[in-house]
Structures are given as structure tokens and as C-alpha cells.
């Protein structure tokens, strides 16, 4: 079954009574609390679905991701503790980027160019080290979308533990499917080992962001300020994550849930002046249904 055909997981389920009562009990325990919007649920679930499909494809291309996902939808996803954090971070980052994209000012209207001019513009310019690092960061970022541009998680960006846990869950599911075929079952063990080794050697946003951060040197504040002015949030998150030596998704969620007053200290390592933070503050305030960091949360 192709990726674009199977359910994104937002079909209304038929609830059991016990599930409804659990839901109601949770609601009654905190009726005034804000809850996930349908968009947040759908985006997070979509991110999880694409991740499961990607990991399954890496384990064994013959796995039907639609079948796997539908079974997990019915029985509940495994590794929920790990998946919730990374999927929510990716989904919220995507919402933030979409919001910024929709509010972007219209592009300038240019006059009709001469063809010769057009040709000249296309000539390649030698890349500086900074440009090369920034290009690598862009490529790492775009790997976090599927072929249709929907938000996804790149396997290279997963921490080893989460990847391993998910891989083993999928392998266990697959094992139940192919258990009668002992040779394929044995191959599965090898595939798990190979996949773990391969993932350990991959680099993603964290590495690309760190390389860019390192090479910027004194140009860091300018690059960070430009990223904010241009609403280039992945670059800002990557730079902040490197400065704090935190994981990209961890930094993304810290920034996305930060109170306005906490932003200057959170971004202090980027040496930004206060005025440069204004577009960031405005953009975060305008993001609907934004979660705010717990009081006990560090930073």
C-alpha cells in the first residue's frame, strides 16, 4: 500500500465505553486545562506515521506500512513516551513555519529581464565555507519532509535509543508475520543490527547545525538575527541548539514553549540584541494553541 493512500489516522474511531470514561475522567480532573487541537493531534500522528513507515522500510522494504500502522492504530502505538516528545516538537515546529509562511509579505514585482541577464544570474558562484555549511543545514532540514512536503522526522535526527526501541517494536511485529519462515525471521535479526549500525553513523540537523554554528564564529549574532528577521526558524533552532549543546528537537520545543520573558535568556548565547528578538516574540505569541513550558522545566 502506498504511503499516500493509507489512512493518516485521523478517522474518527469507534470508542469503547471504558475509553470514553477514561477520557472523561481525565477531563473532569482538569476541566479548565487546554487540550491538543485537532490540528496538533493530526500533525503529530502524521509525523509518527511517516516515521514508522520510514523505519519499517529501512528494516525490511517488504513490510506493508499501511498494515502495520493500522494494526498499531487499533492497538495503540508502542514507544509512546519517546514518540510523543519528538512528534509533538516536529508538529509544532511545522505549525510555526506554516504560520510564518502564510504571513510572509508579498514578493517584490520585478520587471521583465533580458534573457542574457537571466543566463548570467544562473552561473554558479563558488561557495564559501559558511555558505557550504548553511547549504548542508538546509539539506538536512528538507530531509525532514516526505515526498509531498508533509512534516516528517529524519531517521538521522533520532536519538539512538528511540530509533532502536522503534526498530525492535517493528521487528517484533514483523516477526509475528513471518514467524513460519525461519529464514526470513533470521534475516530480520541481521536487518535490525545493520539498521542500528547505519543509523549510528548518520548525521542530521544536529551535526549540520553545529558545523554551521562553529564556522560562523564572530558572524553568529548577525546570522541568528537574520534568521529571526527572515522567519527562518530551523536555522535559529539549530544555532540555539548548538550554543546550548542540546538536541535539535529539544531546543525546538524549548523555544516554541518559552514565555516571552524567557526568550532573552534562552537565546543569550547567540548574543542577540533585544530588538532582534521582536519578530520572534510576535511570531510565537501569534501561534494559536501554543503550549507553554512547565514551571518546573529547566531554562
Amino acid at each position: 500500500m502506498s504511503d499516500s493512500v493509507f489512512s493518516p489516522g485521523i478517522d474518527p474511531p469507534s470508542p469503547t465505553l471504558s475509553a470514553r470514561l477514561r477520557e472523561l475522567a481525565g477531563y473532569l480532573a482538569a476541566p479548565a486545562a487546554g487540550r491538543l487541537t485537532e490540528e496538533q493531534r493530526a500533525l503529530s500522528l502524521g509525523v509518527a506515521r511517516r516515521l514508522v513507515a520510514d523505519v519499517a522500510a529501512r528494516l525490511d522494504p517488504r513490510i506493508d506500512p499501511g498494515l502495520l500502522w493500522n494494526e498499531w492504530l487499533r492497538g495503540g502505538l508502542p514507544c509512546t513516551a519517546q514518540l510523543a516528545g519528538i512528534c509533538f516538537a516536529r508538529a509544532e515546529e511545522h505549525r510555526w513555519r506554516e504560520q510564518s509562511g502564510q504571513r510572509t509579505s508579498p514578493p517584490p514585482v520585478l520587471s521583465e529581464p533580458e534573457t542574457a541577464h537571466a543566463d548570467a544570474r544562473a552561473e554558479s558562484v563558488p561557495l564559501s565555507d559558511i555558505d557550504r555549511a548553511y547549504l548542508a543545514l538546509q539539506i538536512a532540514d528538507r530531509r525532514r519532509f516526505d515526498a509531498l512536503g508533509n512534516p516528517a522526522l529524519a531517521i538521522a535526527d533520532l536519538d539512538g535509543e528511540t530509533f532502536r526501541a522503534l526498530l525492535l517494536e517493528i521487528a517484533a511485529w514483523r516477526l509475528a508475520e513471518v514467524s513460519e519462515d525461519t529464514r526470513r525471521a533470521a534475516d530480520l535479526g541481521d536487518a535490525v543490527r545493520v539498521a542500528i549500525e547505519r543509523q549510528a553513523g548518520e548525521t542530521g540537523m544536529a551535526h549540520a547545525g553545529h558545523s554551521y554554528y562553529e564556522i560562523l564564529g564572530a558572524a553568529l549574532p548577525g546570522a541568528a538575527a537574520a534568521a529571526i528577521a527572515r522567519h527562518n526558524w530551523p536555522t535559529l533552532i539549530a544555532l540555539a541548539a548548538s550554543a546550548h549543546r542540546r538536541a535539535y528537537d529539544d531546543m525546538a520545543i524549548a523555544l516554541l514553549t518559552a514565555e516571552t520573558a524567557a526568550l532573552p535568556s534562552l537565546l543569550a548565547p547567540l548574543r542577540l540584541d533585544h530588538a532582534a528578538l521582536a519578530p520572534l516574540e510576535v511570531s510565537l505569541v501569534m501561534l494559536p494553541a501554543r503550549a507553554v513550558a512547565d514551571v518546573s522545566s529547566d531554562e
Partner: protein, 455 residues
Amino acid sequence: MSERIIRGRVDRTGALVSADAPLLRLQQRAGAGLDKPLALPHLARLVALAQRLHRDISRPLYAADDHSDIHALVRITPDADGASLEISDWRTRPVMQPQVPVIADSAAVPQSWTWECDQQLRLVALHAAPDAPAIPDGWEGRSLSELFELQPDEDGRFPVLRALARQSRFESQRVQAAGIAMILSGEALFDAMGRFTGFRGLAVVAEEQMPAEPKGGGTLVDPAFGSLPLSDPQFGRRIDGALRGPLSRIIATAETISGQFDGPIRADYARYAGDIAHAGRHLLGLVDDLADLQNIERPGFKAARDEIDLGDLARRAVGLLGMKAEEKGIRIDAPRTDDRAPATGEFRRVLQVLLNLLGNAIRYSPDHSQIWIRVDREGDRAMVTVADQGQGIDAEQQAVVFEKFERLGRTDSGGSGLGLYIARRLARAMDGELTVDSAPGQGARFTLSLPARDA
């Protein structure tokens, strides 16, 4: 392929209480959800209309979200507790939005790659859709023009380079990538400061790959179009894409004004808006016809072989055009629900032919007359006949009525003169035939015959 029906249910307050996934997704993308008021304005208006009339209505449905325009047919059945929705022939076409990094699921073009480059045309993303050729290794950071060998258009220009200089969208850039001929299109991207940041778009395997296509990219010579570039498939596709979206929006907006859905306006202004919508629909029909014409005249055009029932399709056509007939007081005598004529043909195309025949019958029949639709079987042929009480067609006219652009001397805004030509071409593409039997003053009988099948 069998017709998939998407169902939904609206309650008395206008809230969507149940919906199949595509409809629910659309509702969610419009910012609502289940148990929330229907957030699709056109559909909501049609539901309100059906409830006001206390009768079933079938209408074309136009909807749009951030990513795509959606055309479909909707049947609304009102009842005491609300209304049931049945949506068929759901078709989507992507709307490129430069700042939104999503190409909708509906935009999954077979045999295509999605790509993105920066302002220096260096590739930062390249993904293959299902069934597309594998993407070459080592594309990361390479120049777009290095990976895709650019080829000039008929004027010797490169659309992508022109677009780069103008920082605007482009399409129909012919390229060669890994030995495959592809067509590149892209949308210019801008950041929050209005700075150009690159392009994002599709690379679709070119139809010239097909062996039947004439080589050399030359313009197809067509006696009807003469030297007009309309006979060039690429030009046709560009025109089709460029016109359909704006026209749909003009129609939708004009209908909104005409229907005074956003508040009362002067009656003559509402009437003008109605005229605009009417003219827009005419133009859209012409675009549809031209697109169809190019499609069916393409070498290698084939229709699907669905298992269909001509009786069912005739009733659907009546459902879709029944209101139009009622406006002229025309009564349509449709096949009964147990009248069946199992046949083989492409569901959508047969419906298109029947809509054309029935639409013509309504258009050229006098007010308060009658139209008959009958289904029948003769040997290995299943047939459906549309008969009217119009002025009829003499033998001389019958000889040319299926010709391209033939309107039998009519000059009104009723049609393009392509409908019957297309209908016959479609019938023949499905191993069928479309014939006419008429005499002046005796109405006309158009009969579509297709290969019959045993039910």
C-alpha cells in the same frame, strides 16, 4: 475503476456530524472539525439550498484548501434531522503556494519528483513519488542545471532562467535527467523579508517519453486549429492550468455576490454578478472542452474499461441536470431504477457523454416540453438514447453535427461546438458509437452504444 463515494452527514444546525476521511480532512483544513459548522462555504450553501427546497439536489462542488482545488459532484438529500451528503468524482489539482512547505497528498503526481533549490539553484531537496524513476545519488547541493540538463523552448529560451531573473513561477521547462526527459515546474519561494530564497516544484516524466509521441517537439498540425499554438500539447496544458483556477474563483465569487450570501446588495448588481458567473461557466466549459480535445486526440489515448450500468449513469446525469430542466419546465422521463443496461466503458467519460447529450437536449428543447432517456440492449451492444422535442436536425446537419466547432449556425453563448465531437470521440475510444436520428420538427434522438456485458 469503480466510482468511490465519499459520504457525510450534516445535522439540522448545519454542523458536520460524520464524514469520510477526505471530507473530514477538508473540513479540518478549513479550521473546523466534526460537530462543527460545515466550514466549506460552497457545500454549506448547497446544503442550505437543499434544505430550503426540501428536495434532493445534485450539483458540481468546488472547494479549495491551502494546497489544492477540489472539483466533485455532490448529491444532498435533506431530511428532518439534517442532510446526507454523497460526493463522487472527487478530483483535486494542486495550488502552488510558495510559502507553505507542503505539497498536498492530492498533488501526488505519478512519475514525478519533488524538488527544492536555493536562490543559487542549488538543490536542497529531492524526493521521488511512488512509481517515479529513482533519484540519482549525490544530488545534494548540486546545481539544478547540472542535475537537470536544461533544454530551450520553441523561442530558444529557458523558462527556469527567466523565472530566476524575474523571481517568479515557471513551468514547462524541458529537461533531461539521468537520461529521462522530464518537464520541470516550480514556484518561487520568499522569506519573511520578501527576499527570494529559491524554487520548489515538480519534475514530471515527459509524455514525449511515450514511443507514440511524434519526436522533435514540433507543433501538431491540425486543420481545425490551423497554425494556432493551441494544437501544441504543452501550450494547451499551460493554458488549461492558467485559466481554470482563476475562472473557478471568478465563478465562485460571482455566485457568492449573486446569491447575496454575504449580505444584501442592489438587485441589478446581483444580476450583473449572475451574468459574470454565467459567462465564467461558459469559459470554463470551453477550457474543459479544449483540455478534453487535446487529451483524446493525443496519440495513445485510451479510456478505462469499467463495469458500468447505463441506467445508473443516465439517472445520475438526470440528477445533475434535473434542476436546469426544471428551470425551463422540462420534464425528463428517466430510466426507472430497475432499468439496467450493463456495459463496459469509463465511468467518468460515459457520464460526461450523457451530460453533454442531456445538456444539449435541455438547451435546445422548448419550455415545458419533455425529454426521454431509454436504455436498451441489442445483441452485444448496450444502448442509451436521449430524445427531445426540439426543432430537430435535418439530414444535411446530421452529417456535420459531430464535426469540431460545428454549432449548426447557432451564435448564442450555449456551447463551444466541441461537445458532440468530443462525445463521439470518447464513445469510439470505448469501442462504442454515438449516432443521431432526427428530422426537422420531430426532435432529435442521440444514441450512445457501448459493448454490453452480462450482469
